[in-house]
Each structure stands twice: as structure tokens, then as C-alpha cells.
């Protein structure tokens, strides 16, 4: 009878040996010790922590292990790595298959992955060598990431510089636009004045023609001149059309200028080129209106019309020079000048940037002075004379013109006077007949009253 203790001891040993065998089998199976394998080689300049026993995969499938690593004989040589690969995967490994070292996950062990070759290439022979790709190190990846981050930072900084430059240019463009508006303001003012002149002149001509006065009236009964009269009428009509066309052009130019300014204000607006175009357009418009004004001026001197102006005594109040004015071109033996002398201290008060503006008292004095004249206008012309006593001759002339202009603008707006009958002129400090010994600092409102209607006008001081 066998002892139970002996059986137990035997069972214990058998179980232990069995477990040992099972463990050996598991490990051996993983290392494919019980599978047919064939050797294949590859070479790496750098192993990158590749070790003996490292797993070998073929297209991701577990295929074998590294069984030998031969050290190169010279610094320029490569490590020769021997791999034992499952025979059943042999047909996937071609002579152009590439061995690549990869990492199991981010921190796992290094293994060799053999990529399957192309169909056209033959199988790699036993003991053959396949090409390799150098190991990819995390450190290299981090270095590349660092380089990329530096590049991004550099790009961002460069872009920031560009943005600052763009903002600066936008600011400069806004300043240019502002400057342009300041520059073109006189042009627009001049255009408006020319347009007003044209309109006034045209109105005068048409009114006289419609009234049949002067030579035109005679033409109505003169059959021989009928044709010429028709031609004149046609010319007048053409002038009107041209006037409309000019006004339309002015309006178009104005719209174009408005659009151009709007473009300038937009962030995508053009810069210097449009400035030039706008200035050119404004210059051309100014020339056009000026030419039109000249044409109208010429018509006024036409033999058919000049009789009216000669009778009136002047063609254009603005065209009279100070010298002609002093010689009495407006009086011409038919009119008598009646002046109201108003000192600058009464009329003006200091304005912004050293200029003068009409004061409240000054307006009241002007209204008081005009109260006497209102019943004589518009059939009798009014001229605002500007005087100044300080500065050089040029400065006195300029100051006088500014003062006269301010007063004339006020009168035109306040009493709706006709610009053709309300002139202004600067006479420097030469104020003949003034209350202060032929010198005057201020303005004088001169009403050129026809002798027949002349009566006493009290002079305000």
C-alpha cells in the first residue's frame, strides 16, 4: 500500500514541474522558439535603444525577435541586426521591404516593424539584408515640436509687426483724408462761387432778354436781324444747356468726390492714387466753371448785351480793381456813393486762431445801417469796403478784404441780396472821406445811389 504522504509529495512535485513547464511553454511560445523561423538582416546607423530579444513584427503581426546585434567595425559603419522571423510570413518580406524601429505606445519598448514589400519584388532570401529606416526618437520629436513652436512664435511676432504697420497706415490714411478735405475746401468754395456767378449772370441775361429790353428789344422788330436774334437765342439756349451740363458735371464731380472720400474712409480704400485723381477732378471742375464764367463774362461784353451793363455802369463788381473803384467807376457821373462807416472794434470780436468774427453788437450795427439802404436795393449796387490800419500794405489789404468779405456774406444771407449787386473790395487803409482823417480801421458800406434818387443818408459812426 502506497503511503498517502508519498502520493501527496509526488503530486506536489508533479504540479510544480507542470507549472514550470507551462511557464516555459508560454515564454517560449512568445519567443517563437517552437516555430520555424528564418534569419534576415538589416542595418541601422543608430540603434536607438534597440536591444537583443526585441520583438520583430511584419506589417504589425508578431513575427519574431532580434537575435543578434553586430557592432560596426568603424565609426562610419552600421549596426547589423539579425532577426529571426516566422517562416509563414516569409512571402510578405520582399527585397524592398523596409525595417523600421518603433515604440510600443509612447513609453513602451522598442521593436522592429518590417513593412511588406511590393508585389513585383522577389522574396528576401534567407540571411538576406533588407533596407532600414533610422529610429525615430521622442527627443527628435520634441526638438521638432520646439522648433515648430519657435517658428510659430516668430510668425506671430512678424504678423504683429505687420498689423501695427497696417494700423499705422490706416491712421496715416485718415490723416491724409483729413488733409485732403482741408485742401479741397477752397476748391469747393470756389466752385460754388463760380456756380453762383454763372447762375446769376445767366439769370440776368435771360431776364433782360425775356423783358425785351436793350438791343434785344429792338431785335424783336428788326426783321433783318431776326435770324441773328434766333441765333442769339439758340446760343442762349445752348449756354443754358451748357450751364445745366456744367452744373450736372459739378454735381457728378461732387458725388465722385463724396464717393472718393467714402472710399478713403473705408479700410480698403486706395491711397495716394485717388488723392491725385480727386485733385485733378476738382481742378478740372474748377477750370470748367471758371471757363464758363469767362464765357458768360465775354457774352456780357458782346455788342448785343453790353449796352445793358454799360448803362448799369459796371459789368461785375468783383472785377473792379481798387484803383478803378477809387476813380469812381461805379459813380460814372450817374450815381453818388453813400457810405456808412463802421469801425472794426464795433463789428468784430476775436475768433479762433487769431481770426475775426462778427460780434453780436456788430450784427446789430450792420442791421441798423442797412435799414436806411433797403429801399434802394437791389436796383442800386452796394459795395462793402474793407479797411485795415495795421501791418504792411499787403497785410492791410488782406485784412481789409477779409473784413469786407465777412460783412458781405452776412448781408447776402441776412437780406437775401443779389451777389451781382453786392460787391466787396479792400482799400487798405486809404479811406478818403472817413471820419478819421482818411484812415479807417473797419468797413464801410457804400450804396451807389442814382442821382435822381439821391437823398440824404445819415452816416452812422
Amino acid at each position: 500500500m502506497v503511503s498517502a504522504k508519498v502520493v501527496g509529495a509526488g503530486a506536489f512535485v508533479v504540479v510544480g514541474l507542470l507549472l514550470f513547464t507551462v511557464a516555459l511553454f508560454f515564454i517560449g511560445e512568445r519567443r517563437m522558439l517552437f516555430t520555424d523561423r528564418f534569419p534576415v538582416y538589416t542595418e541601422f546607423a543608430s540603434l536607438g535603444q534597440l536591444e537583443m530579444g526585441a520583438v520583430v513584427r511584419v506589417a504589425g503581426a508578431s513575427a519574431g525577435e532580434v537575435t543578434e546585434i553586430r557592432v560596426p567595425t568603424s565609426p562610419g559603419g552600421k549596426f547589423r541586426v539579425k532577426m529571426e522571423v516566422r517562416e509563414d510570413l516569409h512571402q510578405l518580406i520582399r527585397v524592398d521591404s523596409v525595417a523600421v524601429t518603433q515604440t510600443e505606445g509612447l513609453v513602451g519598448a522598442l521593436f522592429i516593424n518590417i513593412q511588406t514589400g511590393s508585389e513585383a519584388q522577389p522574396q528576401v532570401p534567407e540571411g538576406g539584408t533588407i533596407p532600414s529606416r533610422e529610429p525615430f526618437a521622442i527627443a527628435d520629436l520634441l526638438q521638432q515640436a520646439s522648433d515648430t513652436a519657435a517658428l510659430v512664435k516668430e510668425t506671430v511676432e512678424a504678423l504683429r509687426g505687420d498689423i501695427e504697420t497696417a494700423v499705422s497706415q490706416v491712421a496715416l490714411t485718415a490723416e491724409d483724408a483729413h488733409g485732403l478735405l482741408q485742401d479741397i475746401r477752397p476748391d469747393i468754395t470756389a466752385m460754388a462761387k463760380n456756380g453762383t456767378r454763372i447762375s446769376d449772370n445767366t439769370q440776368q441775361l435771360v431776364a433782360r432778354i425775356n423783358a425785351g429790353e436793350g438791343t434785344i428789344g429792338k431785335l424783336i422788330n428788326d426783321d433783318t436781324l431776326y435770324v441773328r436774334a434766333r441765333e442769339l437765342a439758340d446760343q442762349s439756349k445752348e449756354v443754358m444747356a451748357q450751364s445745366k451740363e456744367v452744373m450736372a458735371n459739378v454735381k457728378a464731380v461732387s458725388d465722385e468726390a463724396r464717393r472718393a472720400i467714402s472710399d478713403f474712409r473705408s479700410k480698403d480704400g486706395p491711397a495716394q492714387g485717388l488723392f491725385g485723381d480727386m485733385r485733378l477732378a476738382l481742378l478740372q471742375a474748377r477750370e470748367a466753371t471758371s471757363d464758363m464764367a469767362d464765357n458768360m463774362e465775354a457774352m456780357k461784353h458782346n455788342f448785343l448785351l453790353r449796352g445793358f451793363f454799360n448803362k448799369r455802369g459796371y459789368f461785375d463788381l468783383d472785377a473792379i480793381s481798387p484803383d478803378e473803384y477809387r476813380k469812381g467807376v461805379l459813380e460814372n457821373g450817374k450815381r453818388k456813393a453813400m457810405r456808412t462807416w463802421l469801425s472794426a472794434a464795433v463789428l468784430f470780436e476775436p475768433g479762433p486762431e487769431g481770426t475775426e468774427v462778427l460780434s453780436q453788437d456788430g450784427r446789430a450795427r450792420l442791421d441798423s445801417a442797412m435799414a436806411t439802404y433797403l429801399k434802394y436795393i437791389p436796383s442800386n449796387p452796394i459795395v462793402v469796403e474793407g479797411y485795415a490800419t495795421t501791418g504792411t500794405t499787403g497785410e492791410r489789404f488782406s485784412q481789409g478784404r477779409i473784413r469786407a468779405g465777412i460783412v458781405r456774406e452776412y448781408l447776402l444771407g441776412r437780406y437775401e441780396l443779389g451777389p451781382s449787386n453786392t460787391g466787396f473790395i479792400s482799400l487798405g487803409n486809404d479811406a478818403q472821406g472817413s471820419p478819421s482823417d482818411d484812415k479807417w480801421d473797419g468797413v464801410a458800406i457804400a450804396l451807389f445811389l442814382e442821382s435822381a434818387a439821391l437823398q440824404f443818408v445819415e452816416v452812422a459812426k
Partner: protein, 260 residues
Amino acid sequence: MYARVGAAILAALAEVGEVSLFGLRALREALLPPYEFGEVIRHVYEIGWKSAPLIALSGFAIGIVLSMHTRASLERFGAEAMIPAGLAIALIRETGPLVTGLLVSGRVGAGIGAELGAMKVTEQIDALEASAVDSFKYLAVTRIIACIIAMPMLTLIMDFCGIVGGYLAESTISGMSWQLYFQRAFSLVEFNDFIPATMKTAVFGMIIGTIASYLGFSTTQGTEGVGRTSTRSVVLASMMIIVSNVVLVKLIFFLFPATG
């Protein structure tokens, strides 16, 4: 005071020397006839077979606990797939052998020390000698050899049960199949991990058997001495296992570099 310290040191050194000589003598006697196979088998049964349930249960529990700890650590990195391999490596390389040695030293070392100590104080050993029986070879060598044989076996049981316990824990959580689990468990285990770690437990068995037998043979002062021998056997054997493990691991790394 210095004299007492010096005397204690000398006594400790003398005891270490006696234990070492005891162990060397046991190895030499094991190789010389007559061979006590029957006694060896009986002790393998007593030491190995009867310890197997304790070791299996402990291994199973350790496997479950290790699996849970490993999962808690690896899932932070999204490396749950590494749980079986990590658990197997930990069990096979270190946890299995060391825990097995400590458990055996507790159960078997105390038993051997108490048994031989009782025989000593009751003069049964003297009676064997009087009967012309080599008490050292009959009582000590057979137990030491049985410990050397049983320890690797018990370690294998511990490893196996630990991996099974880990599988049960893992399959409960992730539903992993046992084929995939065992494939992954052994995916990183090399022969150099398995064989040296398992074989070093034979040294643990040698240490347990030698210390317990020596203390049993040295027992004095009656039953009180028997209890003291039992306690000292467990303490000394456990301590020596832990200390020797340091040396053995370093030795394994030296002899099998790939395991480092």
C-alpha cells in the same frame, strides 16, 4: 558596557558561523550515502503539499490586489493593456518568490524548529544517536533538502495562482478573455525573468531549513526553549530571506544582465 557589546557581537558572529557550518555540513551530508529518500519525500509532503493551499490562497489574493493596484497606476497613462504583463513580471520576478519564502518561513520554519527543539529537549535525538542513527542526516538534512525542493514548487504555485487571481480581477472589470490575458501576461516575460527568480527560492528553502534545524538542534531549557526556538526560527529565517534576497537579486542581475 563595551565588554558586553563586544561579547554580544562575538556571540552573534559565532552563531552565524555555526549556522553556516551547519548548512555546509548539511549540503555535504546530502551528497553522501546513505540517502534518506523516504524521509525527504515525507518532508516534501509535509512542507510542500500541506503548504500548497496556504500558498495558493495567498497567491490568488495577492494577484487580485496586484491587479487592482496595477490598474489604478497604469490607467492614468491609458496603458490598461499593460496590466497583465506588469502583474506577471512583478509576480514572477519578485513578489511570488519573496512572499512564498516569508510564508514558508512562518509556517515551516516554526514547525521544524519546534519539532526538532521538542525532540532535543525530550532527548529523542540522543535516543536516535544511541540507536546508531545519524540524527543530523536523518532529521536536519532531509528537512533542508525538502525545503530546497518545495520552495520553487510553492513559488510556481504562488505565481500561477497570482496570475489567475489577476485574471479574475481583470476579467471582472474589463471582460478580457483568458487567452488574451495570458498572452499579454507573458508578452514581456523572458526566461531570464522566470528561471533565476524561481530558482533563487531554493536558496530561500536552504535558509529556512538550515536556520530552523540549527535552532531546533540547539534548543535548551525545556519547553520554554522550544517556544523560543520556534519564534527565533521564524524571525531569523524571514530576516535572512529578505537580506539574502538583496544579494540574490544583485547576483541575478550580474549573471543575467538582460533581466536588469
